[in-house]
């Protein structure tokens, strides 16, 4: 197949039809000052040369590091069955299931995905997925504004700074009053939230575990918010839900998160997916696509997109979101990932993360010049170093270890803080290498 869009002959033919003598004449209305003298496109290369060029570029990626970096995106094992099933052409090439009569496979997969998200978060309803954790959080904020008719949003200091930036960008020209609680390593400071929480508040945004790894029980904040007519939005790390209290059990109204940890490989820029679940009473305020179960004319069970009047292609400017799609393939991977683990397997998976992280914490505690910040955590925790964390991390990269996320990259006052993540993939020997590497980097 030729990737040349138009041959010379075709171009001439088209020009003839529209009655223009040359390309030059076609563009003559655009003044010379506005036209580039050249596009500087080099001569074409052969397939062999292009492949070699791309391979050389890819070698610049360092993919063999022992990974202790998290901060919202995690290095979890992905069973081979996820690729095998999600790669099937029936799923891989399928388009938006607007025609349920020929899209039952995709629709059922989305329906099962929604069910899995509801079970995981202990919420009533979930949509068929959004772009990523940050956009999902923004959509939840918009939902809370629609539901309450208020416009004040309190953002806890433990929210992932990447999500916060996305929220600021998305709401920059909207009448939303964003209250930002300063970052704090440890559990949510209640008094900071309550200082701002009042009858004008639409929602309080929390994250569990928070960006610094700390886990919390937010039931008291939920109760207080509800008493003032405000909602609580919680962003969660799905893998942690096998072990820690679910947002549903704490009375949270809207739950969001990034689904990358559920079977999506780490890659710079994604694609990942976001999830959003909420209480049943907010069903009609949910953004994005929802798949529902129904019966066909013969009374057989079937699936179809439902409640589409919330969506942009039906309702234009009154839609609940300007996102009219979902991350179907990534969500499919998540439901395969979750179903292959099963309920017990998922809890074990979750526990493994926690236990390995606790083991690492205890090991690092004994290193002079390292202080493990004392707070309950899941598989991620913050340590304070005697030296600049960025320098330590760069130093250890050369030894094949990505030791963590230096928090100074996000917060000016945290140059010596390092966020460390330990997933189920990290072997004891690798954890020992981390400890040894840190000790050498700090103390030698």
């Amino acid at each position: 197949m030729s990737y040349v869009p138009h041959t010379k002959k075709e171009v001439e033919e088209m020009l003839r039809v529209i009655g223009v003598s040359s390309i030059e004449e076609l563009f003559k209305d655009i003044g010379p000052a506005l036209r580039p003298s050249s596009f500087n496109i080099p001569e074409g290369k052969s397939e062999f040369e292009v492949k070699e060029h791309l391979e050389r570029l890819s070698l610049k990626n360092n993919t063999n590091l022992i990974n202790f970096v998290g901060g919202g995106f995690y290095d979890h094992y992905i069973p081979a069955v996820v690729d095998a099933l999600a790669g099937r052409s029936e799923f891989y090439t399928s388009y938006t299931p607007y025609q349920p009569e020929c899209s039952q496979g995709t629709l059922q997969a989305m329906y099962e995905y929604q069910t899995a998200i509801c079970i995981l978060t202990e919420m009533d309803v979930a949509n068929a997925s959004l772009y990523d954790g940050g956009t999902a959080l923004f959509e939840a904020v918009m939902m809370s504004l629609r539901i309450t008719g208020k416009n004040k949003i309190i953002i806890d200091g433990g929210i992932n700074p990447i999500y916060k930036n996305m929220l600021f960008t998305h709401t920059a020209n909207l009448p939303v009053d964003l209250i930002k609680i300063p970052p704090h390593i440890g559990q949510t400071k209640r008094e900071e939230i309550y200082r701002h929480l009042d009858e004008k508040t639409a929602a309080v945004i929390l994250q569990n575990p928070n960006f610094f790894g700390t886990i919390d029980i937010h039931s008291d904040i939920v109760e207080k918010a509800h008493s003032l007519g405000a909602l609580v939005i919680e962003s969660v790390y799905p893998i942690s839900l096998g072990l820690i209290k679910t947002p549903g059990s704490m009375g949270v109204d809207i739950v969001t998160g990034d689904g990358q940890s559920l079977g999506i490989p780490l890659s710079f820029g994604g694609p990942y997916f976001g999830f959003l679940a909420c209480k049943r009473k907010f069903l009609r305020k949910v953004p994005g696509r929802i798949v529902g179960e129904t019966i066909d004319k013969e009374g057989k069970r079937g699936f179809t997109l439902t409640l589409q009047t919330r969506e942009q292609h039906i309702r234009r400017q009154k839609a609940t979101s300007n996102i009219c799609t979902n991350s179907a393939l990534c969500a499919l991977r998540a439901v395969i990932f979750l179903s292959i683990l099963g309920e017990n397997g998922f809890v074990e998976f979750s526990k493994l993360n926690y236990e390995k992280s606790e083991f690492t914490k205890n090991l690092l505690k004994n290193i002079p010049g390292v202080e493990v910040i004392n707070s309950p955590t899941f598989n991620e925790f913050t340590i304070l170093l005697k030296k600049n964390a960025d320098e330590i991390v760069n130093n250890m990269i050369d030894k094949g270890i990505a030791a963590g996320l230096p928090l100074g990259r996000f917060y000016k006052g945290m140059k010596n803080y390092l966020l460390i993540t330990v997933t189920e993939k990290r072997k004891k020997e690798e954890i020992l290498r981390l400890a040894e590497g840190l000790n050498n980097a700090i103390n030698l």
Binding site: G149, R284, T309, I314, R315, K318
Partner: protein
Amino acid sequence: MNVPDGLLYTKEHEWIRIENNSGTIGVTDYAQDALGDVTFVELPKIGDTIKQFKAFASIESVKAVSDVYAPVSGKIIKINEGLLKSPELINQFPYENGWMVVIEIYDEKEKGNLMSASEYKKYLEGIQ
């Protein structure tokens, strides 16, 4: 089509029953028939201000979702909560239990922009 006397009508098929300074608003028999089975009604909040001929509520049916426009301007003083549980009341009793909101009317003069029952009947004949 049932078009009761004594009510005032809009071209968008809403009706209003004016008593003293307040007005009860709903959609007409023609509207409910055109919409088909109503599945959900979204109402404004008590205290909201609505403006003549601007959308203030929406009705979702199996066919579509349609905006409901205010016959006159005013402040919402009552909403029909029965519709939230039983939206089909709009199909069954568009002029009685299917009412949507009661407003406090801001400006009586706006009535002049509405149709009487006989005018609305003629208007319906024109579009059928």
